[in-house]
């Protein structure tokens, strides 16, 4: 292959451009199937820059060939068909990357892919014809067309079973590799999380509070991993308040039962609410007694959050300093952000209510 290009390069420098072009267009790194993902994205970017460079070289070569008029009439008749063939081949081959092959095998049809392959094939055939029948008559041309088709059809028939088998093998390998990777991922995750926690629990088995906290944190982590999929905490209010509740749980080892309905994007008012809720939760786990429950309802009418504990409640007057802190960080904060907060003393505990109006422009 490369030899051919070297020869081409000698005959006018166009081969260099063609080589670069082909190198850039041909899908790479897919044969071994285990190539790291980051490498392909990187080479994608590299490919574009190479394409640009190749285009520039082609343009310069074209100008150099045409403008001085050196041997255009003599060489053009050879070079142009060769170019056409090369371009056709590149267009056809560049599409036969692995993903497409497997898609064909599984039955899905990509219209654009077919069109490109067909276009490439036609270009190549035309190029071959022009090259072969240079200066011949129409009847010879007709024979050549038939011959070309016959050769192509024959090659196709010979190659088809082999190609199909190769694609099948590739696909099987891919599936096996994907399975192995997934298994390895799961094993790695369990090792890093569950096994470590179990070891910690064994070591601290004398301390029930620590065991509970570890078990709870591990349970939550595993649950997130199992049911929420790979995405971490995103920029949503529901994710933010969930994170806050988990943080408080971790800090004090008191379970917080959080229920969230609805969701909305995370913005500064939501951030204020989640910070105020953090204060309320901290207060609940410090002064109240479990179970601590929290409910956040995010709807078109605004956000409502409730934090509730079952403690005996505490008298506002007996702990003025602390209450003042709560007033500042909960009540003041909510009011600054257009919301409100209310602390209700109930006979069997305290409930903090936080409210936020809907995001402007989204009111229903």
């Amino acid at each position: 292959m490369r030899v051919a290009f070297v020869v081409l390069a000698l005959s006018g420098g166009a081969g260099v451009a063609a080589y670069l072009f082909l190198w850039a267009m041909t899908p790479e790194g897919q044969v071994d199937g285990s190539g790291p993902l980051t490498a392909t994205t990187w080479s994608e970017r590299r490919r574009w820059s190479v394409l640009l460079a190749a285009g520039a070289v082609l343009v310069i070569a074209g100008i150099a060939l045409l403008v001085p008029g050196v041997g255009v009439s003599a060489r053009g008749s050879v070079l142009i068909p060769v170019f056409v063939i090369a371009v056709g081949a590149v267009v056809a081959w560049s599409n036969l990357d692995q993903t497409q092959r497997s898609r064909w095998l599984t039955g899905g049809r990509d219209g654009m892919g077919w069109v490109r392959v067909a276009l490439g094939t036609v270009l190549a055939i035309v190029g071959i014809l022009v090259l072969v029948t240079r200066g011949s008559s129409v009847s010879v041309l007709w024979d050549a067309v038939l011959a070309a088709f016959a050769v192509l059809a024959g090659a196709l028939i010979l190659a088809a079973p082999w190609a199909v088998r190769l694609w099948g093998d590739l696909r099987r390998e891919q599936v096996a590799a994907a399975r192995a990777t997934e298994r390895a991922d799961i094993a790695a995750h369990l090792h890093d999380s569950v096994l470590q926690t179990l070891a910690l629990i064994q070591r601290q088995s004398a301390d029930p509070a620590a065991v509970t906290r570890l078990a709870r944190a591990q349970e939550r982590e595993l649950r997130t991993w199992l049911y929420d999929g790979p995405q971490g905490s995103q920029s949503s209010l529901a994710a933010a308040v969930t994170e806050v509740a988990h943080e408080v749980e971790d800090l004090h080892g008191v379970p917080v039962d959080l229920v969230v309905t609805g969701d909305r994007p995370f913005e500064q008012h939501g951030a204020a609410l989640s910070r105020a809720m953090r204060e309320a939760l901290l207060n609940a786990v410090r002064h109240g007694s479990p179970p601590v429950t929290a409910y956040v309802e995010i709807g078109p009418g605004g956000v409502e959050a409730f934090v509730r504990d079952r403690g005996a409640g505490f008298d506002i007057d007996t702990v003025p300093e602390d209450r003042l802190g709560v007033r500042q960080s909960v009540l003041g904060r909510m009011q600054r952000h257009g919301g409100s907060a209310r602390i209700r003393q109930r006979e069997d505990g305290t409930e903090v209510e936080l409210r936020l109006p809907p995001i402007e422009g989204e009111e229903s």
Binding site: P255, V259, T261, Y295, E297, G299, P300, E351
Partner: protein, 237 residues
């Protein structure tokens, strides 16, 4: 907690425990026995089973009042607790009431919860529930009432679009909650016991139970897209 107006000496509630983890079964029995030590035997364990097929056999033989049912179980046609409930359709206790199911699960996934409820369970609690609450839940289910955990209430509010403000025009509408049902669900999601809900809304505990049962009925019968989609995920429809 003690809102039930229990008769003087009620017959103990006959319970079958279905869970594929032996350790968990032992744990629940021990905890419940301990919790009941003070207040007399409320429940009596009459059997347990580790998988779908033996569960159906035990339930048909013992005809218990309440079955504590794990959501994920081996055997059957692969739908765990739902298969047990469907395998026991029409089984009645000695007194002629149908056998009732209370789902007990570690899973918080909506499709699991909704799946067992739609298969016919009268309630859903997580395995982290404390023993006292579990006894209350068992008693409530045996009385034919529904048991909603805060999380299940949250699911219901989400699934019926109640959190987004959709409210039924008529109470009988199956695909939406009525305003009152929404209020009750919201309070349960906030961690209120039935008694506290009743006090908050100035209604009787019985009325709260009626609302919750009506929500359960809607949950089981509604053809709302969200619910059928979840059920489809568990091959229930």
């Amino acid at each position: 907690m003690t809102s039930q107006s229990t008769p003087a000496t009620p017959a103990p509630i006959r319970v079958v425990l279905v869970d594929d983890h032996r350790m968990f079964r032992t744990g629940v029995r021990a905890e419940l026995t301990e919790a009941m030590a003070g207040g007399g035997a409320v429940c009596e364990f009459v059997g347990e089973a580790p998988d779908v097929d033996s569960a159906i056999a035990v339930i048909r033989k013992e005809t218990p009042d309440v079955v504590l049912l794990d959501v994920h179980l081996p055997g059957g046609s692969g739908n765990g607790g739902g298969d047990v409930i469907r395998g026991c359709v029409g089984v009645e206790t000695a007194t002629g009431t149908p056998v009732r199911f209370l789902a007990l699960s570690v899973s918080d996934a909506a499709e699991d919860v909704i799946a067992v409820i739609r298969a016919g369970a009268r309630g859903y609690v997580t395995k982290t529930i404390n023993a006292r609450d579990l006894v209350t839940a068992i008693r409530r289910v045996s009385d034919g009432d529904a048991v909603f955990s805060p999380r299940l209430a949250g699911f219901v509010l989400d699934a019926f679009g109640a959190a987004a403000g959709e409210i039924a025009e008529v109470d009988e509408e199956l695909d939406r909650l009525s305003a009152r049902e929404r209020e009750v669900m919201r309070l349960i999601a906030r961690g209120y016991q039935y008694k506290e809900v009743a006090k908050e809304l100035f209604i009787s505990v019985k009325t709260v139970e009626t609302h919750v049962s009506s929500v359960l009925r809607k949950l089981q019968l509604s053809s709302r897209h969200e619910l059928t989609a979840w059920a489809m995920g568990r091959r229930l429809v």
